[in-house]
């Protein structure tokens, strides 16, 4: 049997799978630096603290097109203890921006869930900004798998 041909098939199958995720056709992927810059702007130059903010994401995404993520900030959402915004970034997508949640006292809790696209295995990052300007960060690596023989 022709091993080279099979190797080539394997590679082309990978290429097909990659292009078919709908989110990776153009070459320029965001670098981690782009994400860092977004975080610096969001945090007003300060380094965000850890704790209080929890980002939940699967360790392995069955398909990068639909990855469930949740954020929760430990906050009373009353008086001075209010989360104003939580920004979600993905440091390996063509553009690191994913979404920004805006909360209010009427939210009752600083928690939100959505579903997002990941072009490849990468970090999903959440940054929260409190009313007093304090910021928190959490980060999870999500492995994006490539499906069967056709992707």
């Amino acid at each position: 049997m022709n091993i080279n041909r099979r190797q080539a098939l394997g590679l082309s199958a990978g290429a097909v799978a990659f292009a078919a995720t709908g989110f990776s056709a153009l070459p320029a992927l965001a670098s981690a630096e782009d994400a860092d810059k977004r975080i610096a702007d969001f945090a007003g130059g300060k380094t965000p603290e850890t704790g209080k903010l929890t980002l939940t994401a699967p360790e392995i995404a069955e398909n990068g097109n639909t990855v469930p993520i949740s954020v929760t900030v430990d906050s009373a959402m009353e008086g001075d203890d209010v989360v104003e915004e939580v920004m979600i970034l993905a440091d390996g997508n063509p553009n690191p921006d994913v979404a920004t949640f805006h909360f209010s006292e009427a939210s009752g809790a600083a928690a939100a869930t959505t579903r997002m696209r990941l072009a490849k295995t990468q970090n999903v990052i959440a940054v929260a900004r409190m009313k007093d300007g304090t910021t928190y960060v959490d980060k999870k690596e999500v492995k994006v798998t490539i499906g069967g023989c056709g992707g």
Binding site: F101, A106, G108, A109, A111, T113
Partner: protein
Amino acid sequence: MATPKPRVKLPKSASAGEVITIKTLISHTMESGQRKDSEGKVIPRQIINKFSCEFNGATVFSCDIEPAISANPYFEFSARVKESGTFKFTWVDDDGSVYEDEQTIEVK
């Protein structure tokens, strides 16, 4: 694409001051602007770029949305309800279309 259709789920009633969970889903392809058609041309971006939820006229929760949000966008969040009233949900499309839904809640 058929006209996007919102779905919203929240309790019909709650006690005063209770924090309730609201789930929303809307049909939309969320064309990222990153894909090419069969002729190699980039398919222009068309996404829902903003979602918001108001209760009796005051904003409860809103979200700025980028193309990295999946097709048929789903948002789940909370609201603290102090009185009976009406939730209004709004999704804004890149083409300027606005999709809306309303749900009432009774606070006992």
